[in-house]
C-alpha cells in the first residue's frame, strides 16, 4: 500500500491560488504574485504537481507581439481533491484539539 504524502505549505499555497480560479489558465508570474513565492521555489512545485497529475500545463500564444509563448497552468480535479483533503485534515485536527473558546 502506498501512503500519500501530505503536500507542503508552499504546495498548498500554489494549489489554492490555482483553485481560486479553477477554470482559468494562470501564468507563473501571476502565481508568484498570488503566493509570494520566488521563481526558484514555485517552479519545482509546479513540476512536482504536474507529474502527480494535480495540474495541467500548456503553452499559450501571447497577446503582445514579439513575446514568446508563455507556459500556463490549470488545476485538475485531482488537485482540487488533494486540496480538499488537506483542508478537511486541518478541520479534523482543529476539532480534535478542541475550541479554546469553549474550554
Amino acid at each position: 500500500m502506498t501512503r500519500e504524502r501530505r503536500p507542503s505549505a508552499q504546495t498548498i499555497k500554489v494549489l489554492s491560488a490555482l483553485a481560486h480560479s479553477r477554470d482559468a489558465w494562470r501564468y507563473g508570474l501571476e502565481l508568484i504574485e498570488a503566493t509570494g513565492l520566488k521563481s526558484g521555489s514555485l517552479y519545482p512545485i509546479l513540476i512536482r504537481c504536474a507529474e502527480r497529475g494535480l495540474l495541467e500545463s500548456r503553452w499559450i500564444e501571447p497577446d503582445v507581439q514579439g513575446r514568446p509563448p508563455r507556459h500556463a497552468y490549470r488545476i485538475l480535479p485531482a488537485g482540487l481533491a488533494a486540496l480538499k483533503r488537506v483542508e478537511t485534515g486541518h478541520a479534523t485536527r482543529s476539532d480534535r484539539k478542541g475550541n479554546p473558546a469553549c474550554a
Partner: protein
C-alpha cells in the same frame, strides 16, 4: 542587448543543461516569463538555475550523495592511515618514510574515486573525478579556516614539497588519481554490464 540579459541568457543555458532534456520545457517556461521587460531577468535566471539544481539533485540523489560523501570520507581515511603509518614509523625508529604521504594519499583516494565511476560511467566519470578532486583539496583549508581561523594552507602541495618535489606535482598527481580511479570504476561497470 543589455549585459544583465546576456548573463541571464547564459544562466538559462546552464539551467537547461542541469535540468536535462526531459525537464527543459520548464526552464523555457521560466525564460518566457523573464521576457517581460518589467521582470528582473537575472532573478528569473537565478531561479531557473536553482530549480534545475533541485530537480537534478532529486533525480540523481545517489550521485549527489556520493559526490558529497566521497571527498570527506577519503580525507578521513587518509588522515587515519597517514597518522597510523607515521606512528609505526616513529615507534620503529624509522622516522618519516619517504613518499609515505603521496602513497597513502593515492591509496586512500582510489576506492572513493572508483566508487564515483561505478555510479556514473563514461565521460561523466572524468568530470566527477575532477569535482571530487576540487572538493578534496578545498576541504582541509575550509575546515581549518572555519574551525581554527587558520590561513589557507596547501595540502598535497605542501606534503609533497617536503620531499623536494614541486607543489604542483602533488596536485596533478592527486587529480590523476581521482580521475584514473573514476575512469577505472566506470570501465569496470561497463565491462560487468557487457558480460551480463
Amino acid at each position: 542587448m543589455r549585459i544583465t540579459h546576456r548573463i541571464a541568457a547564459s544562466l538559462f543555458t546552464i539551467a537547461r543543461w542541469l535540468a536535462g532534456p526531459e525537464q527543459r520545457e520548464w526552464i523555457d517556461a521560466m525564460q518566457a516569463e523573464a521576457c517581460d521587460d518589467a521582470q528582473p531577468a537575472l532573478g528569473w535566471a537565478a531561479g531557473a538555475v536553482l530549480s534545475a539544481a533541485r530537480l537534478r539533485a532529486a533525480r540523481d540523489w545517489q550521485l549527489v550523495a556520493a559526490l558529497l560523501l566521497a571527498p570527506p570520507l577519503a580525507l578521513a581515511v587518509f588522515l587515519a592511515v597517514f597518522f597510523a603509518t607515521a606512528m609505526v614509523g616513529r615507534a620503529a625508529g624509522l622516522g618519516t618514510l619517504p613518499f609515505t604521504t603521496p602513497l597513502v594519499m593515492a591509496l586512500a583516494v582510489l576506492p572513493f574515486a572508483y566508487a564515483l565511476g561505478r555510479i556514473r560511467p563514461g565521460r561523466a566519470a572524468k568530470w566527477l573525478g575532477l569535482g571530487a578532486f576540487l572538493a578534496f583539496q578545498a576541504l582541509p583549508p575550509a575546515i581549518f579556516s572555519l574551525a581554527f581561523g587558520a590561513p589557507f594552507v596547501f595540502w598535497w602541495g605542501l606534503n609533497v614539497a617536503v620531499y623536494n618535489l614541486p607543489w604542483h606535482v602533488g596536485y596533478l598527481a592527486n587529480l590523476a588519481v581521482w580521475i584514473a580511479g573514476a575512469v577505472l570504476g566506470g570501465r569496470h561497470r561497463r565491462a560487468i554490464a557487457g558480460r551480463a
